[in-house]
């Protein structure tokens, strides 16, 4: 290590030149990295639900459906003014880019039809396409026709007749969320006035909102940065103490983003928090370096030599620094086991980013420090060290010296138990209705709540019933099973309704039987059912049945409408589907395949996260323990460093559970990163205690020196970072605010445990890997 440190400092110009060159080269790709959200990236491709979803999404309903709800403020929708608006919006949809015009469902569209019996069999006609009703009588007829049809009255016209729904699907590969968001709102605003209220929801809208807040996110990042720099300057009192951490943060960010762009990975605005977190680590490593450098300068007394001090700094901090970075990278890498592309890409980004910290902070900072001309000079006179930091660190030392150390241990134990208990209540999936990305009172969530109040549910899941045999979907047993399945599922309160071909055939059958409701049932055999299907399709247009059954009649869809996306709701629904399948394994060689649509995809994601939850935490801890064991050649070291990590994570989990923040795709990487990052502070402190003890200091002196030097770095970075994380509370994206809060808590707990708990533990148990036998 000594040799490496010497080499770096001696060839400092070459090192600097290389770093500068790489930074320059990577700047270009780093600044042109794509900032966007791709919903498909959330889909765990190998999961069976996703396979079903991918196979059928184009006909049975994808994840990118937008729903417009038009609510009449006075009376019901059956007046010319409202109907004109419904028609206007329906026709306006065609002007939205990437729209799938065959998947527009509206009472003013071509796809929703009235089915009637006539002398020639069955006849069907759209409700008000191409023309609106002409007079009161025709409006009345329209109303009656809609009331009669359970496929429209309920799903597309609300039970109180005050609202109607228009839904539209997109071609996934052509869809641009921002454009769809702009165009959809433009359309809604065009028709909204005193007489109607228009709500718009759907994934393209949701991610449009995330992008809408991108400038705000950037402002928050800049504000956080400004707070960070000012505080660092005030506390460190030197330009180097302010700019060097900034430079190392910037260098690692440029390298990481540059490499990601070269690897074809885009930057999701939802992972800004992760980026902040890693940058925070780069900065804290750098602050450790600067703090240590100052100390070495002080130690050198009159023989001030920046090169010498920088060399010692690099030599001594190389081990804790690199170990910290390696554990960070190792623990984050574990997340890549997850089959979710978003997480895999995130892992690549995070591992690259964390690894660059080894160069940008651990090597670059001391190298730059070696050029410092007047290392004793300060930029301003306000000395917070004397007023605040030293007294606090003295307190830390006093705690270790006195019996208060046992109190610290006691508090930690209580926290373990209490938080451990509460963290068991942590939920997987979204814990609240509406989108957890946005605040409950955001326009999107308010719209979403309004729609769910009027309609069976805006979020859909489809299951596919079928197999490889043609005409399976005509079999009475298969159709019967579908109906029983639908009834079974509808018993769950959060499932507002279900829809399938098995709902349509009885209607057709009844119509053929003069409207006799005692014949509102499926045909008695597959021949009759085939006939009913044929009649319906004959009366309709080709493709009208596509959303219910494929052309070979092999596979039929059952669409379930959900009133919320809560993790519990989805888990219960999936468990009930599986229960039903267990009771009805195979009917006429047809099977029920789970599950597509937005809810199907979320179900798959939640399942993956749930099953990976223990896996990723256990494996991350495993990697941490093994690394500590290897580096310190002591099995106790592994146990020792698990303490702050588990504590900070338990506190965070308990807080999430208490605040109703669910473990979802957005929070999982934060948790995994927390394990790796939580150990850094403790590593610096313990490593310093070890080296001071080896120099011949007593136990307490070693601890005191460590707390005043490494501890200062910990305290300063924690203070500065917590302060700059606070700006996220003001984010319009609830997810960012919550993650900011979590990171704040997590930083506080790991800093406090590094400052109080770890030295106390070290002093009480005196582990050999710290206090080794002295020569």
């Amino acid at each position: 290590m000594e040799k490496f440190a010497l080499a770096c400092i001696n060839k400092r110009k070459i090192v600097l030149a290389i770093v500068f060159l790489i930074t320059l080269i990577l700047s270009y790709p780093a600044f042109k990295i794509d900032v966007k959200t791709v919903f498909e990236d959330l889909q765990p491709t190998s999961h069976e639900y996703i396979k079903t979803h991918e196979q059928f999404k184009n006909t049975f309903g994808g994840t990118n459906i937008i729903s417009f709800m038009i609510v009449a403020k006075e009376g019901d929708i059956f007046n010319m003014n409202v109907l004109e608006k419904v028609q206007g919006i329906t026709q306006g949809l065609l002007k939205i880019d990437a729209i799938n015009e065959f998947q527009i469902y509206s009472i003013a569209g071509k796809k929703l039809k009235e089915v009637k019996a006539s002398t020639e069999g069955i006849e069907s006609k759209p409700y008000m396409w191409p023309n609106l009703p002409k007079n009161e009588q025709e409006i009345d007829d329209l109303k009656n026709a809609i009331l009669k049809n359970p496929l429209v009255y309920g799903p597309y016209v609300s039970k109180d007749l005050k609202a109607t729904l228009i839904t539209v699907d997109f071609f996934d590969d052509l869809l641009n969320y921002n454009l769809a968001y702009d165009q959809a709102y433009e359309l809604a605003k065009k028709y909204e006035d005193g007489s109607v209220e228009i709500s718009v929801v759907g994934n393209p809208i949701l991610y449009g909102w995330v992008n809408h807040y991108l400038p705000e996110t950037m402002n928050l990042v800049l504000m956080g940065l400004a707070i960070f720099l000012v505080l660092l300057f005030v506390i460190n009192r030197t330009w180097r103490g302010t700019l060097l951490p900034l430079i190392s943060g910037a260098v690692s960010a440029i390298w990481a983003l540059g490499v990601s762009d070269l690897l074809g990975i885009h930057f999701d605005p939802l992972v800004v928090v992760i980026a902040m977190l890693i940058t925070a680590r780069a900065v804290s490593h750098s602050v450790q370096m600067v703090t240590r450098f100052h100390e070495e300068i002080d130690a050198l007394g009159d023989n001030v030599c920046s090169r010498r001090a920088a060399c010692v700094t690099l030599r001594d901090l190389l081990r804790p620094g690199l170990l910290g970075i390696a554990t960070d990278a190792g623990c984050v890498a574990v997340v890549a086991i997850s089959p979710i592309p978003l997480l895999q890409k995130l892992v690549v980004l995070a591992v690259v980013w964390v690894s660059t910290v080894a160069v940008s902070s651990v090597i670059l900072t001391p190298v730059l420090l070696s050029w410092v001309k007047k290392p004793n000079a300060y930029a301003h006179g306000l000395n917070l060290d004397l007023a605040l930091i030293r007294p606090f660190l003295n307190l830390c030392v006093r705690v270790v010296e006195t019996r208060a150390r046992y109190a610290v241990l006691g508090i930690a134990t209580v926290l373990f138990v209490v938080c451990g208990y509460y963290s068991l209540g942590l939920k997987v999936g979204d814990a609240n209705p509406g989108s957890p990305i946005l605040w409950p009172d955001s326009e999107y969530n308010v719209d979403s709540a309004r729609i769910n109040e009027k309609f069976p549910g805006a979020d859909r899941m489809f299951v596919v019933v079928g197999g490889d045999r043609q005409n399976q979907a005509k079999e009475v047993e298969v159709l019967d099973t579908m109906l029983r399945f639908q009834a079974y599922m509808e018993a769950q309160h959060e499932i507002g309704g279900t829809l399938s071909i098995a709902d349509i055939l009885p209607e057709v059958n009844k119509t053929l039987r003069e409207g006799n409701t005692r014949y509102q049932e499926l045909g008695s055999n597959s021949l009759v059912n085939g006939e009913l299907m044929y009649m319906f399709e004959n009366a309709a247009e080709p493709g009208d049945l596509d959303r219910f059954v494929d052309t070979n009649r092999e596979n039929a869809s059952i669409t379930l409408f959900f009133t919320d996306r809560k993790g519990e709701t989805i888990q219960t629904a999936i468990a009930r589907i599986n229960q039903f399948i267990a009771e009805n394994p195979i009917v006429q060689q047809a099977k029920i395949h789970l599950a597509g649509g937005v809810i199907g995809v979320i179900a798959a994601v939640n399942e993956v996260i749930l099953s990976g939850q223990i896996q990723s935490i256990a494996l991350a801890l495993f990697i941490l323990v093994i690394m500590c064991i290897v580096v310190y050649r002591s099995s106790i070291a592994g146990m020792f460093f698990m303490v702050p990590v588990i504590l900070s994570n338990l506190v965070t989990f308990a807080f999430m559970s208490w605040q109703g923040i669910g473990m979802n795709i957005n929070t999982v990487p934060v948790a995994a990163l927390g394990i790796g990052l939580g150990v850094d502070y403790a590593l610096y402190i313990c490593d310093r205690i070890k080296s001071e003890y080896e120099k011949g200091n007593s136990y307490l002196d070693a601890i005191s020196v460590s707390l005043h030097c490494a501890g200062r770095g910990v305290l300063v970075t924690a203070l500065v970072l917590i302060a700059s994380v606070c700006v996220w509370f003001y984010s319009s994206l609830r997810f960012q605010a919550e993650m900011g809060l979590l990171i704040g808590i997590w930083l506080s707990v790991s800093a406090l445990s590094a400052l109080f708990l770890m030295p106390s533990l070290a002093y009480i148990f005196k582990p050999k890997f710290i206090f080794s036998e002295r020569n």
Partner: protein, 356 residues
């Protein structure tokens, strides 16, 4: 002070108990490492699932038939062999095991213990223990169209059932054995009534009315004085002479001579074009009650001079297939099940609580 601590701990190291402790200390970490690895690879968390309480009458249920034994004891039957019984006037329900998946179209009872239910594919079930067990009875079938649509019970264990293919079935031993009372014919019979010891009348498709004066041995067709050929769905009599039959497209026929001749009711005071599915004579309120598609109801006084019509709910246009009159009002079944109070004109859905 710190030196003292040093000495103490150095001395401690030599004690034998410390050696054991050291061994434990060196084993435990590896055990934890192993446990972590094991947990990482094998442990899969399980989730707690919310319990879903199934309502007695589900949203999708179609309840086709109803029979009121008295104000408390009510029997319902419907799709997929569903039979429900209430002992508290419809506040809560017991699901009974019918052991059939066929849709049941109608249910009728002699008393609170003995009942009979009929349905698709000629299924005919009886119970003698209040519905704890239902047994399927043998009935003549054609193999082509065997759906049974209505069944009625009469004193002395007598029962009449009608259905597809012109089928008229009769039993006089509480439904144990059945005889077919008429040749098969490609016409659906929708309802039947026995007026007195010998007179039985059945109605059906294309406005057909059949009458037998010898308890079903011979049947004659009644000519109706109307050109409306809509199917007749149900009929009921006030006494042995005066009766009403209702049918599709708002058809209402009346007879004053025990079913020998029928006239179409003149629709002057009201306009009714919806399908009418059932009619009953309400002896306590001295009036007629009719229900049908789209939630319509129609009431008429004894002489049909004052007629009122409306729908149970402005927007819930659920259809109904049968109606029974009770002290509280009219109990109707179909796409939903509820009680209509003719005084307040309010329709309330019955309790949905499932017991047992």
């Amino acid at each position: 002070m710190s030196d003292n601590y040093c000495i103490n701990s150095a001395a401690d190291l030599n004690k034998p108990s410390i050696k054991i402790k050291n061994t434990v200390i060196s084993v435990v970490p590896w055990a934890i490492v192993g446990a972590l690895l094991w947990a990482g690879i094998f442990v899969k968390p399980t989730v707690a699932i919310e319990e879903v309480i199934k309502p007695a009458i589900e949203t999708r249920d179609k309840i086709y038939g109803v029979h009121l034994v008295d104000n408390d004891n009510i029997w319902l039957c419907g799709n997929y062999g569903k039979i429900l019984k209430s002992n508290d006037g419809g506040r809560s329900w017991i699901i009974q095991q019918s052991n059939t998946e066929h849709h049941l179209q109608d249910i009728a009872a002699w008393d609170a213990n003995t009942a009979i239910a009929v349905g698709n594919e000629g299924v005919l079930l009886t119970t003698t223990d209040g519905g704890d067990t239902w047994a399927e009875m043998d009935v003549p079938k054609t193999g082509v169209a065997d759906k049974l649509l209505r069944v009625h019970t009469y004193s002395g264990g007598e029962a009449w059932a009608v259905g597809e293919y012109g089928k008229i079935l009769h039993s006089d031993d509480y439904g144990k054995t059945w005889t077919q009372k008429r040749e098969n014919e490609d016409v659906i019979l929708n309802d039947i009534i026995k007026l007195d010891n010998d007179t039985v009348i059945a109605v059906g498709e294309f406005g057909r009315i059949l009458i037998s004066m010898d308890n079903g041995q011979n049947w004659a067709e009644v000519e109706t004085q109307t050109d409306n050929a809509s199917s007749l769905m149900a009929l009921d009599f006030k006494d042995e002479l005066e009766g009403v039959a209702v049918g599709l497209d708002g058809l209402i026929l009346r007879t004053f001579d025990g079913g020998m001749s029928w006239q179409q009711s003149t629709q002057q005071d009201y306009e009714m074009h919806e399908h009418l599915m059932d009619v009953v004579w309400d002896n306590s309120r001295k009036g007629w009650v009719v229900v049908g598609n789209k939630g319509v109801w129609l009431t008429a006084d004894e002489s049909f001079s004052s007629i009122e019509a409306g729908s149970f709910d402005k927007v819930d246009l659920s259809w109904h297939t049968e109606v029974e009159s009770t002290e509280q009002g009219y109990f109707t079944v179909g796409a939903n099940v509820g009680l209509y109070d003719p005084e307040s004109k309010i329709f309330t859905k019955t309790g949905n609580k499932l017991v047992r």
